[in-house]
Structure formats: C-alpha cells, structure tokens
Symmetry: C2
Subunit: 344 residues, 2 copies
C-alpha cells in the first residue's frame, strides 16, 4: 500500500483529506498542485512530504525553460516555494536540499541531464525512505512484547511515509512477527488524522485498534490499559526535543505521570542538529476555522469566538524514553547519543 505513486513519469497521490470516506487519487501536474497538496494536507506526514516534494521538483523541471541559467534560477525559486509551504517538519527542507545539492554539483550540464539528476535523486530519496521505515520497524519491534497495548497519536503510518511508516512501522513489524498487540489511536483533533488515517490503515491491515478521543488517553493510562506509547516526529533537535502533532506533549506528560514508556520513531532525516533546543523549532499555526468547525463540515462554535490552532507542539527530551531510528534505538543522554548515531 502506498500514499504516492510515481509511474510513467507522472506523480499521483491519495488525497488524504478525503479518507476514510473515499480513496481519491489525484495527479500532480504542476508545481503549484504539489504546493497546494502539501498545504492542504492532502499529502502529509513528515517523511512523505519530503519524498513528494522531491518528485514535485521533477514535475516542475519538465516545463519549458529558455536556458540552463534560466533553469537554475527558476529551480532555486521552486525549492524555496515548496520549502516554505509547511515550516515545522524538517524532512521537507532536508529532501529539497538534497535534490538542490545534486543539481548544483552539476549545474553546467545540459537541462535534459539536470532533469534526470532531479528524478534520480527523488527516486533515491523514495527508495531510501522505504528502507528507513523497514529498519525503524525492525529496531522498534525488539521493544514490543506480545500482549502490549500501544497508544499512538496522529498518523505515522504508510500514509505518512513512502514505506510502512515510523511509529506504525514498529506496530506492523510486531504484528507481522506474530505478537498479539492492540493499538489505541488518539483521534487527533483538529484534523483527526488518528481517526481518519491511523484507525483506517490499521484496521485495513488487520491490526486490532480502538479509537479514542484525545482526552481519554490519560484515564486509560490510569487504568493500566496502556503499556507503551509510540509516536512519530516532525523535527528532533540535537538535545532530543521532539516536535510532533499537537497533543503529543499532553500524551508525554501523562505518560511520565503514569510511568509508561514514551517512544518516538523517526528516520535520521527528521533530526535537525542545527537546533539546540525545542524552543527554536518553528511551529506552524493554522486557520482558526479548523478548530471552530470539524473538517469544515460541522460548525461547533460561532465564527466570532476566538480560537488557537498550533499544528505542532514540542515534547522536551526529558519526557522521551527513547528514539527509535533507522540506525538503532537512541537512549538518554540524548545529546551525546544522538551525536554519536546521527551526527556523522
């Protein structure tokens, strides 16, 4: 199962805003389509938007240009345009930079060749993402016992990556290994990725799942119904502070209070070692109507009521038990151990 497809030189994606009611595939025909798909969360999940954005650059590169110089100038603009679409997840900037470095190293070559270079790099990022997900699953699976009840927040599954996911890759690996596990999925207001995407993809893959409202996780913890928590990440600092979907921090505080292990699963590309602390991570604020309505379909508060809608929050390293990466599991002290594993 895939959230995006690159086939016959064309880029397709599932419109995740239509899930779980409909499975709608759309084609990205222009750079602006890609930007809009990311902005509207039709394509979302930190690793996936990195892969998708790299392909978007290829789609862009197929357009007409007057010269190699013109190509390079407009290419640089396209990179910035996509990068600023969503500020919090670092994988987007990371993937764009990777394509950019490959192009810049070859900027004297003919445009037809630069196009090939972009495509090759996008495909390399894509293939690598599949592999990184699988490795996260392998490392994470070692932490899971048969009988575990695992809570997750938002969606860090195959809909968030081009592979099996990050947090959910661990769950899929444990399930495939025959371990009897059960997942509690936080619905994840305001945009309900936990309900619409996680509960949907887990049940589709026959992993036992129970959907809860975000505010129910704490009482399940108090009743000893949750053994472990695994979430994804949008950016992780050098100190191990983790930006992830809004609500993650509340789960982490509750996990600490109830002494339940809190794991974060993410590939190396989610780490941003240029940032020392979580305070430096830019947090995207989205439209207030996402809170005043549900998916724009039901009004739950009058338009004149003020709202607050940060899309992410930062969980400080002290609340994180370990970070499951494609290179192994990182335990505290995070500063030293992240440097050792990721900072090469």
């Amino acid at each position: 199962m895939n959230a995006i497809k690159f086939k016959n030189n064309r880029l397709f994606y599932i419109d995740q805003t239509a899930l779980p009611v409909k499975e709608v595939w759309k084609e990205c025909l222009r750079l602006e389509d890609g930007w809009s798909a990311i902005k509207k969360l039709e394509v979302r999940g930190a690793p996936l938007i990195g892969v998708f954005a790299a392909y978007c650059l290829y789609i862009w590169s197929k357009g007409p240009v007057s010269s190699g110089k013109d190509f390079m100038r407009r290419f640089a603009r396209a990179v910035v345009y996509l990068r600023e679409c969503r500020p919090t997840a670092v994988n987007l900037a990371w993937a764009l930079k990777r394509v950019m470095l490959a192009v810049e190293a070859n900027q004297d070559k003919p445009v037809t060749q630069l196009r090939e270079i972009i495509l090759n790099e996008a495909q390399a990022i894509h293939d690598e993402d599949v592999l990184l997900c699988a490795r996260i699953g392998e490392y994470g699976n070692k932490l899971i016992k048969s009988g575990d009840n695992i809570l997750t927040h938002c969606n860090a599954g195959f809909l968030a990556t081009s592979g099996d996911g990050t947090a959910l890759s661990v769950i899929y690996a444990a399930h495939a290994a025959g371990k009897k596990i059960h997942v509690f999925a936080d619905e994840t207001r305001p945009l309900l990725q936990g309900a619409r995407l996680t509960a949907w993809e887990l049940s589709r893959n026959n992993v036992p799942v129970t959907l809860i409202c975000d505010n129910m996780a704490a009482v399940l913890m108090a009743k000893d119904k949750i053994d472990k928590i695994i979430v994804g990440a949008d950016r992780i600092t050098a100190a191990g502070d983790v930006a992830n979907k809004i609500g993650t921090y509340s789960v982490a505080v509750n996990a600490a209070y109830h002494k339940i292990p809190f794991y974060v699963a993410a590939p190396f590309s989610t780490f941003d070692l240029t940032l020392k602390s979580g305070d430096e991570i830019p947090i995207e604020e989205r439209a207030h109507d996402e809170v005043r309505t549900v998916l724009g379909k039901v009004t739950i508060a009058p338009k004149k009521v003020n709202a607050y809608n940060p899309s992410f929050d930062v969980t400080p390293a002290k609340l994180v038990t370990a970070i499951i990466t494609d290179r192994g599991v990182v335990y505290p002290p995070f500063k030293q151990n992240i440097k050792k594993l990721i900072g090469q």
Copy 2:
C-alpha cells in the same frame, strides 16, 4: 438567561444539542419526553438535570390516576425510571429522592395535594439551585485575580444549572466584579460541550474566551498561559475524588505537572458521602458512534473500527487544589474538611 423554564404549569427547555447553531425551545409534555431529553443530552449538566427531573415528576403527576395507592405505586416507578437514565451525576438521584421523601411524608393526602407537594418541591430545588450557583460564584471569585487566564473543560455554566453555573459562576462573578479575565475553553470531545455551549455562553455574555482542542491545554500550561483551572463536577466522594466529564483527569494530571491550581466548583448536592472512593462511582459509557462521528454529522472512522466512549472520568483528590462549594471553599485534607462542611 435560563436553560429551562417553568411557566403556566408547563415545562420548557432549550435543546442543547442544537446549540450553538440554533436556539430551539422544546416542551416536556410527558415523563418520557423528560427521560429522552436527559438521555440525549438535550438537557445536561449535573445540577440542571436534578432540577429538570423534579419538574418532570410534576409533569408526570398531572396524568390520570385511579387512586392514591395507584398514584404512589406509579410515582415510585417514575422516580426509578428517571434516576436510571444517567448514572454518573448524583444530583439527579439527589433531587428525585428529595421529591420522593416529600411525597412519602404525605402519602395519605389526596392526589391533588400530592401534585402540589411535588411542584412545590421542584420549585424549591429550582430556587435553591439559583442561590447555590450565586454562592459558588461569590466564594470562587475570591480566588480569582485580575489578569488571570482560566482554563475550563466541558460546560458548567448557566446551561448546566438553573443559575449562573458552577465553574462558570465563578468566572461570571469575577467578570462582573470588573476583573480582567480570559477563559480558555476545552472543546470537550466527543460531544463538544466546551465549544458548543461554554464558548457560546461566555461570548454571549462578553467574557473573553478562546476555544482550543482538548489536546492543546498542556502546551498552553507549558507556555505559562494558564493561571488557574476551574471545572464542574458530576459526583464528589467523601474523600474528595471528583467524577466529571471525560478529559477532566487529563487536565488535572497536566495541571499537577505544571504546578497550576486545579479547582472544582460544585454545590453540596454533588457530594455523595456514601462513597469512600472514586472507584465506586458508576461511569456511564455511551454509544461508540459518538466517537466514530462528530455529532452524528461527519464520519471520521469506518463503522467497523472499535471505539471507547466513557462519558466521565474520576480525578483523585490528590490532584485537586480545592473545591469551591456554596458553603465555602474546601481545602485538603478533604476527608475531614468535606465532612465538616457538607456532612451535616
């Protein structure tokens, strides 16, 4: 502003499930209407359902009976019928018992007189509730400083009582006293009473309010944006354990972690001194479709996905800073101080 009206011997109520989109008044013509209004949460809020249920007994009593004995037998059945409609809030059972004791003390009197007794008792409970709310507001106001940012969960306002509310009575009293306060209202999934009712009634009464998703409260606490938390209660035990709307416990854990005062506001009728601990409080579980959909209007997860939907949770006394009652503010040690103030 009132959530129910008793006028010309007829009982009317705002259908709270239609708020904030429409203000629909309905009439309770039969006992079954009252039961259904409470069950469907058209009338909700622990103190309000007590008052409303007492009036429902009067509406019932107007029906034909063959004898005094017949009246008493059917009256007892009506009491049980209403009492079992919602199990968690104790005010419902408390109000019904109060009417029942008044009737039983006079059971040899003619039916016409018994009807008057029921009506008088319902009106006494109603008048008393207005007064209790006002007193809670007075006592609670002393705890509020100008400049405070106050978080509340669910709705404990005039829509939850027949007066100004419990938690919101404190807020209204502080606002009326000219203190500059600002409220953060948790939307309160699954039924969104915080968004639909609290944000609506506060903005209607010109109290500055910001609506948030339940999972955003923790990060506001971490950013020092919340000075105090005030919530209502559905039942409070002799030890000070508090049953309230699902999600309250998560707020309380986060409040403790961030060292923010966590206040509960409730009249004496919310205390159930027959219960030693919160484990004994019956917790209503509601239909899973309340979680799989939003207000039955938007499907957010496939029907086959399992869900969990406890309507309440229990916050242990150790997480409660103080309980604001109509008789004064109760501080720890709760067991002794609740007994002193309430257990007379």
